[in-house]
């Protein structure tokens, strides 16, 4: 099963774990990306996430499909938050269940790495004295 969601409410790890539960799974890996309190020594006040939602869901779906075919995953769950997030809040959760643990670790890392490259979601870091769209400039 593939479970993809873009939400403007708090993400819940258990929902992703429940979505990938499978009696054939020997390993489940969950990655949780959270808002850090500083970037290069500068204090972060909050992050603002914006998504081109229809395409973001489509691109995350492609990643999940790749995981099912490359790592024989049973289930993939990807939830991404949008809106304004405070330090410590969860921005993204990815869970993958596979027959053996090694594949689950690899697939989960592939998922977050690829998401950061291809999924049309943007984050703005808000500092005490300004704000910046992350990765916009070289």
């Amino acid at each position: 099963m593939i479970d993809i969601q873009v939400k403007d409410t708090a993400l819940v790890e258990k929902e992703c774990l429940d979505a990938v539960r499978d009696p054939g799974a020997g390993g489940t890996v969950l990655f949780s990306g959270t808002v850090r309190n500083a970037t290069q020594g500068k204090k972060v006040v909050r992050l603002e996430f914006e998504a081109y939602e229809a395409m973001a869901i489509k691109e995350m779906g492609k990643i999940a499909q790749d995981i099912v075919s490359q790592w024989d995953a049973f289930h993939v769950s990807m939830h991404h938050r949008v809106g304004s997030l405070a330090v410590g809040e969860t921005a993204v959760i990815i869970a993958v269940s596979t027959p053996h643990r090694k594949a689950a670790f690899e697939a989960c890392e592939f998922a977050i790495d690829t998401l950061k490259e291809t999924v049309p979601i943007w984050k703005k870091e808000v500092f005490e004295d300004g704000e910046v769209w992350v990765a916009a400039h070289p």
Binding site: G33, F49, A51, H80, A91, V92, P120, W122, A135, H137
Partner: protein, 80 residues
């Protein structure tokens, strides 16, 4: 021909709007739109990458645009 632009993230800041119409000389493709935008709004030339989507798919430079196409500007993504 006219196309409808949709902007997200920093592209919205550069255009100062999230939606606008652009008149292009036909035939037009993504490349000609990109050239037009970077000329009219130099802020686009400073970006690490500038991509475009039509019908929720990334499109290459040689993708032909039609009148009334909705084109989404995809500045460098930074999800996760």
């Amino acid at each position: 021909m006219n196309i409808r632009l949709i902007a997200f993230g920093i592209a919205k800041d550069i255009l100062n709007t999230s939606k606008m119409e652009v008149a292009l000389a036909a035939p037009a493709d993504i490349k000609s739109l990109k050239e037009r935008l970077t000329t009219d709004y130099p802020g686009f030339a400073d970006l690490a990458k500038l991509s475009f989507a039509v019908n929720e798919e990334y499109r290459d430079d040689d993708f032909t645009l039609k009148d009334q196409d909705e084109v989404v500007i995809i500045p460098p993504v930074s999800g996760g």
